[in-house]
């Protein structure tokens, strides 16, 4: 069986989510090719070729894919699908945008955000905000799958390099035009792959308040997340949102500061190994369900925590 993994990348860097999707693909006992599309995509193709388990990289270096819009991307993937039984992508903004378009043209059901490969046609995926795990059997001729990247480890670097083959751009009608983007580059680890995440909620009160979380994130090399309420209030950018309608995270340590712990928030962080709640309300679900709960005012706790962590590092 051959699987095509559609790579995610930005600024010439292959995403960690792509390496995790390759791991999921390898669990199908398949040969795994990676499709890298973009403008000046060669450097990304080389990163993909260096990953363990990759048989071949198919590189489409063309300005048509500069922003990887869904319409041309779907056309490109479809132009290769006579060679593959499965197409997979990370469940990122790009994967979620593009793959359903491919599935619709093939007229097959898509499996969204799988968390486990049970066998070559059986998968597990969360539904109802992660409160139910569904075992799904797909007997579609071609399987179209997005992967919950936090559920798989990234594939390691290989000692060698897989061949890189150029593929031609596919014809697609001009339906959507890129106007602009406003993307914030951060030096912090990605939310989806960070070992430690510290998230703030409405209780943090302001963008200013998030500075307290940043200092702790510096100490712990953590990613910063937020509840929907904190994002809606404009304390932090939209892509900080953790939850059912934001990002899924699964760090070793998740610190929830001033977050009440709604079902929709838990949906995004319930696979964290250790959850810490810092909250004044001992009745709230975050405190009730966390592994460690400190019932106290965050504005007292955070400076103390920062100091304690700095001391720990000094030792």
């Amino acid at each position: 069986m051959a699987v095509l993994v559609v790579a995610d990348h930005s600024d010439g860097i292959l995403s960690d989510g792509t390496a995790r999707t390759i791991t999921a693909a390898l669990e199908l006992d398949a040969t795994v090719d990676v499709l890298v599309a973009g403008e000046q995509a060669q450097a990304v193709a080389e990163q993909a070729a260096a990953l363990s388990g990759v048989t071949r990289v198919r590189c489409c270096d063309d300005a048509a894919y500069a922003h990887r819009l869904a319409e041309p991307m779907a056309a490109l993937i479809l132009s290769l699908m006579n060679e593959y039984a499965v197409v997979m992508a990370p469940g990122s903004a790009q994967g979620r945008d593009v793959l359903p378009r491919v599935a619709a043209v093939l007229d097959v059901a898509q499996l969204s955000e799988i968390t486990r490969v049970i066998d070559s046609s059986t998968f597990e995926r969360p539904i109802y905000a992660g409160n139910v795990l569904a075992t799904v059997v797909s007997e579609e001729a071609i399987k179209v799958i997005t992967v919950r990247i936090t559920a798989f480890e990234p594939t390691a670097a290989a000692g060698s390099s897989a061949p890189i083959e150029a593929v031609a751009a596919a014809e697609a009608p001009d339906l959507a035009r890129f106007v602009e983007e406003s993307v914030v580059r951060s030096d912090r680890p990605e939310l989806g792959s960070a070992k430690v995440v510290i998230s703030g909620g409405r209780g943090v009160g302001s963008a200013e308040g998030f500075k307290l979380l940043e200092k702790i994130a510096d100490e712990l090399n953590a990613a910063i997340g937020a509840s929907r309420a904190a994002v809606d209030a404009g304390y932090v950018p939209n892509d900080y949102q953790v939850g059912q309608s934001g990002k899924a995270v699964a760090p070793d340590l998740y610190i929830a500061v001033g977050i009440s712990g709604a079902i929709q928030h838990w949906a995004g962080m319930k696979d964290s190994k250790v959850v810490v709640a810092i909250n004044v309300d001992e009745e709230c679900p975050m405190v009730q369900t966390a592994d460690y709960a400190l019932v106290a005012d965050l504005f007292d706790v955070l400076p103390e925590l920062e100091e304690g962590l700095a001391q720990l590092k000094a030792h």
Binding site: A93, P100, V132, A176, S182, K270, Y292, L294
Partner: protein, 249 residues
């Protein structure tokens, strides 16, 4: 301009759904049902376009059992002009829903289709993109901003790392995210008025669309429960436990 808005009846977002003990399904027989929250946002956007004189007609469509008439009545109260229920007792995969919606979009010929970015029960986040592909139309997913131009619609999308703005040639499909707007509260007079607006019911069989797929859920399980946690009294106790007990620092 005509806008088609899709509304799905889903388990209310406040309900914590559990699987049945035998794993054959989910325990939602008596659960509170509501309009999928993302679809309320889609409707609100459509109504705002109409109020701004940018749209003349809003058609709401739902696919589901007869209970879905509720959410269509709400859609009419929001400001949709008429509603269409495609009735089925089967649970449909997004790909099957998109076949039905493609038939409706072909018949109704809207300029814009507004949908939720995901339904909060199945969280598939597929149907809008699938409809766009079937129609050969542009798609703007995860929209947090929308403005109408000459023959096109401009969409600000929430993407990894920030936002992206696209201009889509009409007709197009847009799937809306939470921050697009704050849906209005329904007022009693609007709810009364909605009772007199047209709501047409057709069965999937009458529509003549094949809704079969080769995918099925064979088991519904509860995710592993977390062990009960501990209450720590101080920051130093917290750090100590994270280092020595949990070993995550």
């Amino acid at each position: 301009m005509k806008i088609l808005v899709t509304v799905k009846r889903a388990v209310d977002y406040t309900v914590r759904v559990r699987p049945l003990t035998d794993g054959s399904g989910v325990d939602i027989a008596n659960a509170k049902m509501s309009m999928n929250p993302f679809d309320e946002i889609a409707l609100e956007q459509a109504v705002q376009f109409k109020e701004a004189g940018l749209a003349d007609e809003i058609v709401a469509v739902s696919i589901g059992d007869s209970g879905s008439q509720d959410v269509l009545r709400s859609a009419l109260a929001f400001g949709a002009d008429r509603a269409l229920l495609i009735q089925t007792d089967s649970v449909l995969e997004p790909v099957a829903v998109s076949r039905i919606l493609a038939k409706i979009a072909t018949d109704e010929a809207p300029h814009l289709v507004l949908m939720g970015k995901q339904a909060i029960d199945d969280d598939a986040s597929q149907t809008p993109q699938m409809l766009a592909a079937r129609m050969g139309w542009a798609q703007g997913t995860f929209a947090c901003g929308l403005s109408m131009g000459e023959g096109e619609v401009s969409v600000i999308r929430e993407v990894d790392g920030g936002t992206q703005t696209l201009a889509l040639t009409l007709p197009a499909v847009v799937s809306v995210d939470l921050r697009l707007n704050e849906p209005r509260y329904l007022k009693l007079p609007d709810i009364m008025k909605a009772k007199r607006k047209p709501l047409e019911v057709q069965t999937v069989e009458e529509l003549g669309v094949d809704v079969s797929t080769k995918t099925r859920i064979t088991h519904f399980a509860e995710p592993p429960e977390r062990e009960p946690g501990v209450r720590v009294q101080s920051v130093s106790e917290l750090i100590d436990r994270l280092v020595n007990e949990a070993k995550v620092l």
